[in-house]
């Protein structure tokens, strides 16, 4: 437990000692806030447009602001997560510190899980920052809180799956750039694979990482979606563990 805490502490220190974490947080917040503003502006315009008065059922904060806002966040996550995870293991190999870690009395799974946890804390910070916009919306309007809540659960699970895949990519190389490109490629593929088929009816539709998010954004927390994301997270971490372990045997 102490070793786990030590790893998490060092990773967080490393994120916040360099400008990386701050840049990521700022870029993430600026982009998502800009889009939030756009959606809000759109909503306000629709409100005074007589032709939309007929569709009052459709015209609410959730559908016009929260839903697209979360959609934007998920896309920004797709772009930013590879940057968060790229150095996690690749850098250890490049600086030869892997040799220190693996000759220390620490299990490999502790190392992997510690690094994952540190990146998860950064993700939570990002989501907390993004919730400022939602908070403003809550004060001045009345979006469906349940949908907001489930949306955040979904975003968290989505981001965590991205992170675990990113860590795996980082364990494959000692070059950060290559790690980032691999994880971005894999994430994009997992994302787009759903577009190649109609939603959930096929295997490809089931594999698609974003199809499972849709239920969350609608306010539904379904077991099959949670199971999907949790398995994806464990798959990523397990592959990381295997890749590190197999490297020792080579």
């Amino acid at each position: 437990m102490k070793a786990f805490y030590t790893i998490v502490k060092r990773e967080l220190r490393s994120y916040f000692a360099s400008p990386l974490a701050y840049i990521i947080l700022v870029v993430f917040q600026v982009i998502s806030a800009r889009f939030f503003f756009l959606y809000l502006q759109g909503f306000l315009q629709f409100q005074f447009d007589p032709s939309y008065q007929l569709q009052t059922g459709e015209l609410n904060l959730n559908n016009l602001v929260v839903l697209p806002y979360f959609g934007t966040i998920s896309i920004v996550l797709l772009l930013i997560v590879p940057l968060i995870t790229m150095r996690l293991i690749a850098d250890e190999k490049k600086n030869y510190t892997a040799e220190l870690l693996f000759t220390s009395p620490v299990r490999i799974r502790t190392i992997v899980f510690g690094k994952f946890t540190a990146s998860l804390i950064l993700l939570i910070l990002m989501l907390l920052l993004s919730s400022i916009n939602i908070f403003v919306l809550m004060v001045h309007g009345n979006p469906d809180f349940g949908a907001v809540f489930s949306g955040y659960i979904g975003l968290f699970l989505l981001g965590a799956s991205f992170l675990s895949i990113g860590i795996f990519a980082s364990s494959l190389t000692e070059n950060q750039l290559i790690a980032a490109v691999i994880s971005f490629g894999v994430l994009l593929l997992l994302w787009l694979v759903g577009a190649l088929s109609d939603a959930e009816s096929s295997i490809l539709g089931y594999i698609s990482v974003i199809n499972h998010y849709e239920d969350f954004s609608k306010g539904l927390i379904e077991l099959k979606d949670v199971v999907y994301y949790v398995s994806l997270i464990f798959l990523g971490l397990f592959l990381t563990y295997t890749s590190l372990e197999s490297e020792r045997w080579r």
Partner: protein
């Protein structure tokens, strides 16, 4: 105590280490020698548990490094070939991290860090970022890192590389002062270093052990060499014959530029006679000295004889 038994490591068809066995007691300092690519680093990585062997076992203080890695690794301090440094941390932060990850007890941590900072001459730079330090200082941080958990087995892969002559002497003294209670294994290219600090020598070549000897025995054989080197101004076969005529000379090997390597019969002192001969024949004495078998020669012999 380090016990290495029948260690073999293969990378595919390439054999990096083959059937390596040795045993070290507390207080031993092993100099681990061999040409580049002989398998020194591989052996050290196996002993520290960084990689598993294809065959064989390693026991650290009686604990098998593969059956019980967490317990065994606690007793090891390891300086790899390239010091494993986080360049964005300060020296003190880094040592604090290493102490934590090596599970140094909380109450000992502060004093251990203070001790290694002092021992390795790092007290003045402890607040500096490691990335801003010179290579020599980084190497010292690497050594400090290996010592922070007060290991009973210390494994150093070329500890004096990249240091200036003064620092080399300091580090050697440091290693010597550490050796008493510990078992130390160090690999090096600098052979005199071995004569200075080590109590045992293992030479490996192409993954195989070619020599294992305690240094006491080695130095004995180094000193006991009785060959002489004679250099005179005159040259030629006639000189060789004249030398052969001296009583007690059993062999003469002419070298370049009037050099002769002379081997006397066992236990016979020939120097006086030799000088008399040279002076009487007006050969022009330039040099006469005992030919010391250096560790270099032993090293070269051990390696080349294996090669043939």
């Amino acid at each position: 105590m380090v016990y290495v038994h029948n260690l073999t490591k293969r990378y595919g068809s390439l054999v990096a280490v083959e059937n390596l066995s040795f045993k070290l007691d507390r207080g031993d300092v092993l100099g681990f020698l061999g040409p580049n690519g002989a398998g020194k680093t591989t052996t050290m990585r196996i002993i520290t548990g960084y990689m598993p062997p294809t065959k064989g076992t390693v026991h650290i203080e009686g604990v098998d490094i593969f059956d019980n890695p967490l317990q065994a690794k606690k007793m090891i301090g390891y300086l790899p070939e390239n010091p494993p440094l986080y360049l964005d941390m300060t020296v003190a932060e880094y040592l604090d991290f290493v102490a934590d990850i090596k599970q140094v007890k909380w109450k000992d941590k502060k004093s251990r860090i203070f001790y290694v900072l002092d021992k390795c001459g790092l007290s003045e730079v402890r607040k500096r970022i490691i990335g801003h330090l010179s290579k020599g200082y980084r190497q010292r941080v690497g050594i400090a890192q290996a010592l922070v958990n007060n290991p009973s087995v210390l494994i150093l892969d070329e500890p004096t590389i990249g240091l200036d002559p003064l620092q080399i002497i300091e580090i050697r003294d440091l290693i010597k002062s550490l050796s008493g209670e510990r078992t130390v294994i160090l690999s090096t290219h600098i052979l005199p270093e071995v004569t200075m600090i080590c109590s045992k020598v293992v030479i490996i070549n192409e993954g195989k052990m070619v020599l294992e000897e305690s240094l006491n025995y080695l130095s004995e054989s180094l000193r006991n060499s009785t060959s002489l080197l004679l250099r005179v101004r005159q040259n030629g076969d006639s000189v060789k014959e004249k030398i052969m005529s001296v009583k007690g000379v059993s062999g003469v090997r002419p070298g370049p530029a009037g050099e002769f390597v002379i081997t006397p019969s066992e236990g016979v002192e020939i120097r006086e006679e030799l000088v008399r001969l040279v002076v009487e024949n007006d050969l022009g004495l330039l040099e006469l000295r005992p030919l010391v078998n250096t560790l270099e020669e032993i090293f070269m012999k051990a390696i080349s004889s294996e090669g043939n």
